[in-house]
């Protein structure tokens, strides 16, 4: 059978009514003309020639503006689409600067090692063509020891990542004297990645970098690039704590793209059950790959990567060992070698289909893919555009399909395409002054240079914090200076990316004589993914976890071939420590403040492939996970609820459904990742609680606890942050309480399901038959008073 081109395939689908009836939006984004400007007069002839060799004879308008502003010494943030030539916006001023003054140094920061490698090759190419003696090096954990010395002295452009800057460069700044004394440019790409916890850490790393620069008398210009976010200027200024110019008008020509929102059909109207998003995604991917249309499929979880990879491998690779690489998975947790092999396979088109988490969302060079299928809304508008951008970075035509899942956020996006296409996407938020984060970085900063009494480090009064650290014995004050006075190396004690820097290593013991490490799992997810008896999957190979040894940070597994996977069950308990804010919205009391959260994995379910049938349970005995954080919550007086014509059990179901809805909507309102928040229903006293996990899974009840009586609790819904100390989301939710409740009301009211479904209050089977009705009654009560 002749292979179809992408256009032919699309035309065929568009005439297939069974396909088109599920399309909620089909946007053809037309190609657009570019807007150009000549090279600036001051451009070095060598650079002019080098650019000419790459076929560049003029600049896009945004590039021209960027290089001019940087030349004037202004910090800039560029917000232009993928493939709009952002790298030239920093490479031109940096290389020009070095050509004019050979001692000039520049620091490039990319969020991942892979991205740094990739960008290094690009700068390298340009430098080679200028024929000038300019050293560009990546400096990261993989850089061999003997090369480091040369890089410190001779690297004009040092390409690294924030983690290395934090733990490898700043604490050894004296060895980098040459770099810091001559540092004129700092380039930060993928700025929007630095939000939430990572961003809060990163802002502190920038504070430390600025301190070191001041010590050496340097005052570099910052050049930042970001995907389209709503507040790029504000975000950049918050991260850098200095004024930044915004450039957001792209002068680059744009290729055409078709963007489809696909909402899978409702298969059971009574239960409000939609077809799983995996199903249409799998079908589309199969057809595209069959036609040799190179396709990337993004899923939102590691588990789904493995499940979908297994489905596609079953289809394309069974019995054809030669074609084994035609479809492959890709996610964090795969070892670097495997990842490099997959990336290369994508570039030379040996791999025709790749199923990935957002690990491939950033600009790692994987060549020109033609189609992108997103299984589920990636959680933010910026991430959606970025994932869609992985298809057709250079080629003319491309396709992006967003397949909505049943959860409220996806449904809201799918049913309100204008929200996506017309509104500016998410806000990046950080809280660099989160006390725990700040304390970590104060320690590292004091290690790097003693603190003077009059110094500033962020918005807080650091004198008190320094006093605290002095009292703890890690700092020693002499006159007006605090000196590091401990044996430790504080940068090693904190990872910028997660709460707990510890990892659990997964060891395959199938071959007795040859134990092999097959993956790494971060500490917190280890509790849910590699607990005893779990089925863990890598590259769609299943492994049975024989034991999880938390002390030695190892999970021992062996290969198995079973027809199910496992899904962990957790319970959560929240206790209020202190209220920061309170407002009375009769009859409801709304508050935000500090809470203590206890979470525990208590068991797991076995779920059968394809049918998703529940085929068994098991217990898990793992220690509790404690979390001290901030939360937003509201309490409905029991008398008020008692006035509703429902039983107590039904009211609890209704609260549950409402919490489900609010959790998802808060993530959307805040434009945060849903996993940045969690929810819990309980009593402010913490004496009883009942819980649904982040992914909407349910626990029957809490072992060994007696359900409370009718009159000893006031039901409270907690939406809390999962980072210790919080990063400011709770306060925002508190401020937007009315908006949140109103959107919940409209979502529940307009949902076509009969008794609740995953798109509003959660699936009926899990939340109970009356949940939707009761939740509706509760919000009405809250809104109408």
């Amino acid at each position: 059978m002749a292979k179809l081109t992408l256009d032919e395939w699309l035309a065929r689908k568009e005439s297939d009514r069974r396909f088109t009836e599920n399309i909620r939006a089909l946007k053809r984004i037309p190609p657009s003309e570019g807007c150009f400007e000549p090279f600036p007069d001051w451009l070095d002839p060598r650079l002019r020639t080098a650019l000419g060799k790459d076929g560049i004879a003029r600049l896009y308008s945004h590039q021209a503006r960027a290089v001019e502003l940087v030349r004037q010494g202004r910090n800039v943030v560029l917000v232009t689409p993928t493939a709009s030539g952002k790298t030239l916006c920093y490479n031109i001023p940096v290389l020009q600067g070095i050509l004019e003054e050979p001692d000039t140094r520049a620091l490039y920061l990319f969020p991942t090692k892979a991205l740094a490698q990739d960008q290094m090759h690009e700068v390298h190419g340009l430098i080679n063509e200028t024929a000038a003696n300019i050293g560009t090096y990546t400096y990261d954990g993989d850089t061999p020891g003997d090369a480091r010395e040369a890089i410190r002295r001779r690297g004009h452009v040092v390409v690294t990542n924030p983690d290395m800057l934090h733990a490898g460069i700043l604490p050894h700044h004296t060895k980098w004297q040459k770099l810091f004394m001559n540092l004129r440019y700092v380039v930060i790409d993928e700025l929007h990645v630095y939000r939430g916890v990572f961003g809060s850490h990163f802002a502190n790393v920038i504070r430390r970098l600025s301190r070191i620069c001041r010590f050496y008398g340097a005052d570099p210009v910052f050049i930042c690039c970001s995907a389209t976010v709503a507040n790029p200027k504000e975000h950049a200024e918050r991260l850098l704590e200095r004024p930044v110019e915004l450039i957001d008008q792209s002068g680059a020509p744009r290729a055409g793209r078709t963007f489809i929102f696909y909402n899978p059909p409702i298969v059971n109207r009574e239960l409000g059950i939609r077809q799983s998003a995996m199903m249409p995604a799998r079908n589309m991917a199969t057809e595209l790959i069959e036609n040799d249309i190179q396709t990337i499929i993004f899923t939102t979880s590691r588990l789904n990567v493995e499940v979908l990879t297994k489905y596609l491998k079953d289809r394309f690779c069974k019995g054809k060992p030669v074609d084994d690489d035609r479809v492959t998975g890709y996610r964090g947790g795969y070892l670097p070698n495997l990842r490099r092999r997959i990336e290369a396979g994508l570039r030379d088109r040996k791999v025709m289909g790749v199923v990935s988490t957002n690990a491939l969302e950033l600009g790692i060079d994987i060549g020109d893919l033609e189609a992108c299928i997103m299984v589920g809304y990636p959680g933010s508008i910026a991430a959606t555009w970025q994932q869609a951008g992985r298809a057709g970075r250079r080629r003319g035509r491309s396709l992006a399909v967003l397949v909505a899942r049943s959860n409220p956020m996806d449904q809201y996006i799918a049913e309100n395409p204008d929200y996506f296409f017309s509104r500016s996407p998410e806000h990046c938020r950080i809280n660099p002054d989160n006390l725990l984060i700040l304390l970590h970085h104060l320690k590292s900063a004091a290690f790097e240079l003693p603190f003077r009494r009059d110094e500033r480090f962020g918005a807080e009064n650091i004198e008190e914090l320094l006093g605290y650290l002095e009292e703890k014995g890690v700092l020693h004050r002499v006159d007006d200076r605090w000196h590091w006075s401990a044996e430790s190396y504080p940068a090693d004690e904190v990872s910028l990316r997660s709460i707990n820097p510890e990892n659990v290593v997964v060891v395959d013991t199938t071959d007795r004589g040859d134990h092999r490490i097959i993956a790494e799992v971060d500490w917190d997810s280890a509790f849910t993914t590699v607990h005893d008896e779990a089925v863990y999957m890598v590259e769609s190979q299943q492994y049975h976890v024989d034991s999880l040894d938390l002390e030695r940070k190892k999970a021992y597994v062996h290969r198995v071939d079973v027809d199910y996977y496992t899904d962990a069950m957790t319970y959560t308990n929240v206790r209020v420590i202190d209220e920061f804010d309170r407002s009375y919205r009769p009859p409801v009391v709304v508050e935000q403040g500090e809470v203590q959260v206890v979470r525990k994995v208590v068991g797991y379910k076995k779920i059968k492939f394809y049918t998703s049938e529940n085929v068994g349970y098991g217990d898990v005995n793992l220690p509790e996970n404690d979390l001290h954080t901030t939360s937003y919550w509201f309490t409905i007086p029991r008398e008020t609820l008692g006035g509703l014509p429902f039983t107590r059990a039904e009211i609890i179901d209704g609260m549950n459904g409402l919490a489900y809805c609010l959790h998802h909507l808060s993530a959307m309102l805040l434009m945060a990742d849903i996993r940045d928040m969690d929810r819990c229903i309980g009593d402010k006293s913490g004496r009883w609680f009942m819980q649904k996990g982040a992914a909407g899974r349910s626990m029957a009840d809490i072992p060994g606890r007696v359900p409370p009586g009718d009159d000893d609790f006031d039901p409270t819904i907690f939406i809390f942050e999962v980072y210790p100390g919080g990063i400011g989301f709770s306060e925002l939710l508190f401020e937007r309480h009315d908006e949140l409740i109103e959107s919940a009301r409209s979502l529940i009211e307009s949902c076509p399901c009969a008794h609740g479904c995953p798109s509003c209050v959660g699936p009926t089977l899990e939340v109970g038959p009356k949940a939707k009705t009761v939740a509706h009654a509760i919000v009405d009560l809250m809104v109408n008073r």
Partner: protein, 439 residues
Amino acid sequence: MTVMDRLKRLTGEEEKVAGKGGRSEIVSDLRRRIDAVMERRTQRIAPLQERVFREDGAKDILEVVGGSILENDRGACLVRDEVLQGAERYGKMTVAEMKRFAMEHLALLARDGRLTDLNPRDALFLDTETTGLSGGTGTTAFLIGLGWFEGSSLVIRQIFLRDFADEAAGLRLLREIVKEKGFLVTFNGKAFDVGLLSARFVMNRLADPFGDLPHLDLLFPSRRLLGHRLENCRLGTLEEQVLFFRRRDDVPGHEIPARYFEWLRCRDGELMRDVFEHNRFDLVSMAALSTHLAGLVDADPRNRREMEEDLLAAARLRLNRGDEGGARRMLEFLLQEGQWETMGLVVHEAARELSLIHKRRGEWDKARRLWEWMLEHRLGDFFATVELAKWCEHRARDFKGALEVVDLALERGGATPDERDDLLYRRSRLLRRCGRDAE
């Protein structure tokens, strides 16, 4: 709300809210976590054995260790001077003997020819005591020990930072002394002390005096020359087993940072007494070790060494430094004079090294005779067999002879399985070549 209030609430240090029972219990876990954040690393380090010093009875450090406060344009620091007279004995050497090293030998040890133009009195021995071993800009050298020869005496000067504010003055003084001297002698100073001090100069905006000052780091030649007969090459081990010098009540190195932090807190000079002593012994040992190592590499093989292995090691060091002639004289001496019945391994190794020198130089006859001699005395059978077989096969084109050599080795047995495989493979190839010749 102030930062401290928030922090105290986070850590549970302040029982602010009355009537909230169990709050301290709730936050005690967080408190533990924050404490763990603060102390994660230090926990691994052994705590002070037992505090024998107390604050109320704190003794003035000047009374305890002596010395005086020196002031210069960058501030002040404590300086303690001591002259060790030539007749004083430490282990097997007197102080006067410690100076008896030839500069050409030090140049060989340091792999730096510039040393031959210098004089023993240009040597600056250097050893620091620091606030930690992790490196990075947060580690400070709080005690900088220096030593040099004046006449037959060894002068010890210790620069001590009473706290961090003394650092600039201490470094300024160090810089002045370094500039007067011709070369540096340390133990592991290349990897540690000098890099650390260089960072401190940068931090205090002072020019780094070390630059490309010649530097003999005794650790590397100690490993080469003595590593073969010691369990490790720590300075303490070398002292006991090579210099025959034993310290009494020495403070363990890993305790020193904690002692200094304790000193910063309570200012009891007693805490520092052992640290000064420890540092002083390190310097004396370095001086003695320099002379000992220099003697080991002396070109004259008749010069008495304690052990035959040391002469072999010296020959190998000379080989490594490109002095084949010197190495050869030592090896030949070992083979003539060595009592090979008891010193089998040394003689075997010496014969092997020497035969390889002959082989490199194309002195085939000498090489062949050594291999035959080794086989005759059953020294290093496999090595000698293979070398001799190779010589027969490729040089003399005597396949039968080669075959005989291999057969003899197989007959004698004693080869490891890998060696045996190698011999069998060689044998089958030789059989083929013999057969082809016969045709």
